[in-house]
């Protein structure tokens, strides 16, 4: 009985008893959810356009952030470093298309998946070789990103909002809106959607697949850069951030591999779910459940909807 009480009643009593803590936990969850969503967004972009499950997306996040910080350390002004990083991401996109995607076209999914593993290893080695393996601080001030805490009295307590988190949420929303406009209203966006629908049909109306792949990988690289700046500002830039890339996977399958809104909503669900779970239910089993809770939430949703919340329905025929 006590166990049942501890699982089903006590956490809710705690929530009602201290609503300010609940709001704080919700906010923390939402913010990490936004950042998961940003990483998942990069996955979705590439998966939609090229059918590649790009494991390297998480490393691209770190690599972009590392390039930015590393360039700045070498004496490049912050905004020039930002522009150069964008250029590096473009070169990376072209390189990936030339070296990895083009020779492997028409191979089974798992082969491409493993190829992105190879890319992951390469980027880790390359990044550490050039910029060193030590964790670095993100250049928040130089990029005019706000720092510090806003304390808001709320519900009989104080809820503190990190300014950088607010900025992250705003920038993420802007990026998503920008991507939506780009997809809906531009010529390239229409071409991207055509490729996502059917490679063959897109080819037959004269869309160059190779060009599209470069564009998508570049877009994913930009999203990675944004995610890298935000994550870097919250903690620090190092390849230990790799683990957050793995967190983006449950977000991705929860929302559906092919859905942009799915990635966002999946990110928020996972972010909030794991924070609340860790905060209210974690102590029951000794804490640390954040490491696997996200995967179980995703698993539970997949059991009901095997294609994720917003994924295309999987139709199988003999």
């Amino acid at each position: 009985m006590t166990i049942l009480y501890a699982i089903f009643v006590d956490p809710f009593v705690q929530m009602a008893g201290a609503p300010d803590l609940l709001v704080q936990a919700l906010w923390d969850g939402l913010v990490s959810g936004v950042l998961y969503a940003l990483i998942a967004l990069g996955f979705v972009l590439i998966f939609k356009a090229s059918g590649v499950f790009n494991f390297a997306q998480g490393i691209m996040v770190v690599f972009a952030a590392l390039t930015l910080v590393g360039l700045h350390e070498k004496g490049v002004p912050a905004f020039l470093a930002l522009a150069l990083t964008v250029a590096v991401m473009f070169v990376l996109a072209v390189g990936v298309e030339r070296v990895v995607l083009r020779p492997l076209v028409n191979q089974p999914d798992i082969i491409l998946f493993i190829a992105t593993f190879g890319l992951t290893y390469f980027l880790i080695g390359f990044g550490e070789l050039i910029f060193g393996g030590n964790p670095k601080a993100m250049i928040t001030d130089q990029l005019f990103l706000p720092r510090g805490v806003v304390d808001v009295p709320m519900l009989g307590g104080m809820v503190s909002f990190q300014k950088i988190d607010i900025a992250a949420a705003i920038i993420a929303s802007l990026m998503v809106a920008g991507l939506a406009v780009f997809f809906q209203n531009t010529r390239i966006g229409r071409a991207l959607r055509a490729v996502a629908d059917s490679h063959k049909a897109a080819l037959s109306v004269g869309i160059s697949l190779n060009q599209i792949w470069v564009i998508v990988w570049f877009a994913a690289g930009l999203v990675a850069l944004a995610a890298g700046i935000m994550w870097g500002a919250r903690s620090e830039v190092s390849f230990a951030l790799e683990i957050i890339a793995l967190k983006a996977l449950p977000v991705l399958v929860l929302g559906g591999l092919t859905s942009v809104p799915g990635a966002i909503i999946g990110g928020l669900i996972i972010g909030v779910g794991e924070k609340l779970g860790e905060f209210y239910w974690g102590p029951l089993v000794g804490g640390g459940i954040e490491s696997w809770l996200a995967y179980f939430i995703a698993l539970a949703v997949l059991l009901v909807r095997p294609q994720g919340l917003f994924g295309e329905k999987i139709i199988e025929r003999i």
């Binding site: 390469f122 880790i124 550490e128």
Partner: protein, 357 residues
């Protein structure tokens, strides 16, 4: 000239379906086994304990994952978790019953792993492809969390790690600090050879064929009368059994002690590389893949001193990462079907030699 089937007539169906239909293959296998058995007498301590033992253990884990990914078509990223279950089960068993032979417990611990594997295999009936891969990550992270957070599993050690006790076989130490490399090597070799032989029989028989039918198309397999749930769960169970035994061998006969970190997600990825590079759906490929991926970083680290270059250890580490990554991509481009396909091609060339076809 030597490698040719000319003159070897098959008079029964069984002979036609044999795993090694060519006499030369059988001789070759016997030679390899004999060489493996005589290795302890010629090779040094380092060769045995740092190259051969890990290689055989990784090959076993790779065979396990290959049964699941290559033969049944179910992508799993939880391999290291299942290996951990085997290692911890073996540790608990030998703590409770120290008098029972350790080799028995290593094999029995596979069954615990099989049970856990089957449990986490349940969603595979509904979830497919990459969605399933992410679902198996739940197993990986949950199991690793258990290894860290449940002190009972590591006998409440303060270090939080498994300390392998000394156990004997035929009066010689096989585990613990006093075990000789030769003894450990021979035990690993025996277990791996036995399990490979069983796996070979499994995949050539009814069970293996039903796995391959499920891999090729599960709905069609269901229509021809293969029950999906038992087939998929059996694949998960057998695969996890192999991984569990490999995990137990890894901790007891190689590392000697293990922290939960040993069974991290990176270990799972490493074994998946071995499967892919070796060749999906090939047992001999599993050995090739394990050999290549395990030996590659060691060999790369040995290269700079050969040329008299002195490069900082960290730089070598980074270069190794880069080169391994580039080689994986290059290898996939050159031969997406893995080393096993190269082996096949080579054998075919040899059969028709000196003619091109």
């Amino acid at each position: 000239m030597l490698y040719r089937e000319t003159g070897q007539f098959k008079t029964t169906y069984a002979a036609d379906m044999a795993v090694f239909p060519l006499r030369q293959d059988r001789i070759g296998l016997a030679v390899i086994l004999a060489a493996a058995l005589t290795l302890p007498f010629v090779a040094g301590e380092y060769m045995l304990s740092a190259v051969m033992i890990p290689l055989l253990i990784f090959a076993l884990a790779t065979i396990g994952l290959n049964l699941l990914v290559g033969y049944t078509g179910l992508l799993s990223l939880g391999t290291a978790g299942f290996m951990g279950v085997g290692a911890y089960a073996c540790y608990k068993l030998t703590t409770f019953f120290p008098d029972v032979n350790i080799v028995v417990w290593i094999l029995v611990s596979g069954f615990f792993s099989a049970g856990v594997g089957a449990l986490f295999g349940l969603p595979s009936l509904r979830i497919k492809g990459f969605y399933l891969a992410v679902a198996t990550l739940a197993a990986q992270f949950f199991l690793q969390w258990c290894f860290t957070r449940i002190p009972w599993l590591y006998n409440n050690n303060i270090s939080g790690a498994i300390e392998v006790p000394g156990r004997t076989l035929f009066g010689e130490f096989v585990t613990g600090p006093n075990a000789s490399a030769e003894m450990r090597y021979l035990v690993v070799l025996a277990v791996v050879a036995l399990l490979t032989w069983i796996a070979s029989n499994l995949v050539h028989g009814r069970i293996g064929r039903s796995w391959m039918a499920v891999r090729d198309m599960d709905i069609a397999a269901e229509l021809i009368g293969i029950r999906l749930l038992p087939t998929k769960l059996l694949a998960f169970a057998v695969s996890s059994f192999y991984c569990g035994v490999a995990g137990a061998l890894m901790v007891f006969l190689w590392y000697g002690s293990a922290e939960p970190e040993v069974f991290s997600i990176n270990q799972s990825f490493l074994i998946l590389f071995m499967v892919i590079i070796g060749g999906l759906g090939s047992l001999i490929g599993s050995f090739f893949g394990a050999a290549l991926i395990y030996v590659l970083p060691i060999a790369l680290k040995a290269v700079p001193p050969l040329f008299g270059l002195s490069i900082a250890a960290a730089t070598v580490e980074h270069m190794t990462f880069m080169i391994v990554g580039a080689l994986i991509i290059g290898f996939l481009i050159a031969e997406p079907h893995g080393l096993a396909r190269l082996w096949q091609t080579g054998k075919q060339k040899l059969r028709t030699w000196p003619f091109p076809y």
